[in-house]
Amino acid sequence: MAEKTRREFLKSGANTAAALAVGGVAGLAIGIADRGKLVWQLDPELCIQCEKCATNCVLPESAVKCVHSYSMCGYCDLCSGYLEPGAKSRDTGAENQLCPTGAIQRTFIEDPYFEYQIDKELCIGCGKCVKGCGAFGNGSLYLQVQHDRCLNCNECAIARACPAQAYKRVPAETPYILRGEEAGRYAASI
């Protein structure tokens, strides 16, 4: 009987100690924890348009897509994000289009302005237009993780493959790293 009580006592002591250990680790973690949520995002300033966003996402169709900052766009006729570098004419013919999936739509607004819109259904996030726009234009086209598609994996497969280490975890309240006037949307809330 005495032995049994002693064992019981030891056991309950060990149990308490384990509970304290778990609680301690959890407490330490809570001490540095964020009440919010973190999501993956690509910093366009670091992006080198290597195409790995298009091929390294766990989804068969990448969660990274091109976005367009309309406030930065020059609405050019000769758009280096839309047209092949050597394009001889500026029409929408496939031979002139830079985008491999034809995801950029070109609409005439008024002379000499054209609007460029990304069809997200078609965009695969390869970043070819981003490079073109960044080289010659204002850099209004850039890549961003689309959070309606992103599964927010604990270890993002693209982040691991990113040669420029441009991916980081950002708070879910400001889930995009935007350019131009659109960036003000978050700036105002900070």
Partner: protein
């Protein structure tokens, strides 16, 4: 029109002032005037899943754990556990795509403790700690019906075979190795190994790399004959759960009252987690047993030191898994002319304008961390091996059929085999058992 532009311009200046950054002039350059009254479209930025839903996940976790514990300890119903398990598989697996799960959360916690740059979300801490706490009270009910990885394997168990005891014991070491390695990687910032090689997450998401799908398919196929291979021989979180479960206040028992040693449950556990009665007699001289045990006890510090040293030896090959170390290596080889090709990584680095000495310093610091971590990693494994040897040298008498507190997943399969009721042997039930066939295996 003019007004709106004026406004925008000012918003910009405000933005720049607020950030005090040297903004690219392009960023704040005014846009063209449109005479046709063209309105600029608004950039669509779909929001991520709401934070409240993340807290809902924690709530579901707690609720599922409570139910699982209730079903296993009170209700003693495999059927209920099974239904809850399927729910968890659908919710945490296919709905939440297996991310974040408690298994992976170990790394988040370690990473947060070792890296100042990472603020771990509270929900992740909950996913790490809550199952451990529940296990401390009720045993591994998390494994039984909450973990989506366990559930995915549990539903494919068809014709489980018993593995030889020694193999079971030996493979049981792997989770310790995996846990130690994952913690080392997370602590040094080299990545999340557990997530990287999670075999089932590819199915949950309907997408992963080819190799990962292959690995997952292999694990599931294997799982039809070797029940829950991941849980038993890989799962690093299972190590922690095992420890907690051994110390748990309450635990599932095969029989609701006293065991009558009827042997009916003997082969009911597909996970070899039922301790069978063992005769008290020794097969060798008592002195020999004691000598062996003391030998292992004395050897323990030696083993720990030796394997600690072995672990520290590994710091160079292991550190190569870290991005910066690899990059530093490539930059160095390039500078030495041994690597002719530039990679995207080296190009990106050279364009970043960071100095090589900075990179080398960072890489060396990571190598140093791996060295210190290697000692701890090796020492831990040495301790695990020693304790395993010691536990295999201690002989304890066992009189009844009993679930192994560490290894039992509280799945409740054994319940239906036990003819004993709460009030002792139930002859009616015994008869029923003999005639009827178990439905949930």
């Amino acid at each position: 029109m003019l007004m709106s532009r004026f406004f925008i311009h000012n918003v910009f200046i405000l933005f720049i002032l607020a950030h005090v950054v040297f903004a690219d002039p392009v960023q704040r350059f005014p846009k063209p005037d449109f005479e046709s009254g063209y309105e600029r479209p608004i950039l669509q930025t779909p929001d991520p899943r709401a934070l409240t839903l993340e807290y809902l996940d924690v709530f579901v976790l707690v609720a599922a754990l409570s139910l699982a514990s209730y079903f296993a300890l009170r209700k003693r119903s495999r059927r209920h556990i099974f239904v809850l398990m399927v729910f968890s598989l659908i919710y945490f697996g296919f709905w939440r795509k297996g991310c974040i799960c408690s298994i992976g959360s170990v790394q988040n916690v370690v990473y947060a403790l070792f890296s100042h740059a990472y603020a771990i979300p509270l929900t992740v801490v909950a996913f790490f700690a809550v199952p451990l706490i529940f296990t401390l009270f009720f045993g591994r009910t998390f494994c039984a019906a909450v973990c989506p990885l366990g559930a995915a394997q549990d539903v494919v168990v068809l014709k489980p075979i018993a593995l030889p005891g020694w193999l079971n014991q030996m493979l049981g070491i792997i989770p310790y190795l995996y846990l130690a390695l994952s913690v080392l990687f997370a602590a040094t910032g080299a990545g999340f190994l557990i997530c990287r090689y999670d075999p089932f997450v590819g199915f949950f998401r309907f997408g992963a790399s080819f190799n990962l799908i292959l690995f997952g398919a292999f694990m599931l196929l294997l799982g039809t004959v070797v029940a829950r291979p991941y849980c038993r021989f890989l799962c690093p979180y299972g190590v922690l759960l095992n420890w907690m479960s051994r110390l748990s206040r309450k635990h599932l028992s095969i029989t609701p009252s006293d065991c009558i040693n009827c042997r009916l449950c003997e082969a009911s556990c597909p996970f070899d987690a039922i301790n069978k009665p063992v005769e008290a007699e020794l097969h060798e001289k008592r002195e020999k047993s004691i000598r062996r045990l003391s030998f292992y006890l004395v050897l323990t510090p030696v083993i720990i030191l030796a394997s600690g040293w072995g672990g520290s030896l590994l710091h160079i090959p292991l550190s190569r898994s870290h991005f910066s170390v690899r990059l530093a290596k490539e930059i160095k080889l390039q500078d030495e002319g041994k690597l002719r090709l530039a990679t995207d990584e080296t190009d990106a680095f050279r364009a970043s304008g960071k100095s090589t000495s900075e990179l080398y310093a960072e890489a060396r610091d990571i190598q140093r961390r791996f060295k210190v971590g290697g000692w701890i990693f090796g020492g831990f494994l040495g301790l695990v091996f020693s304790l395993k040897l010691i536990s295999l040298s201690v002989f304890r008498k066992q009189e009844i059929y009993e679930a192994d507190r560490g290894d039992c997943y509280s799945c409740g399969r054994c319940f239906s085999y036990c003819p004993v009721g709460k009030e002792g042997v139930d002859l009616e039930k015994l008869k029923e058992k003999a005639e009827d066939k178990a439905k949930f295996g």
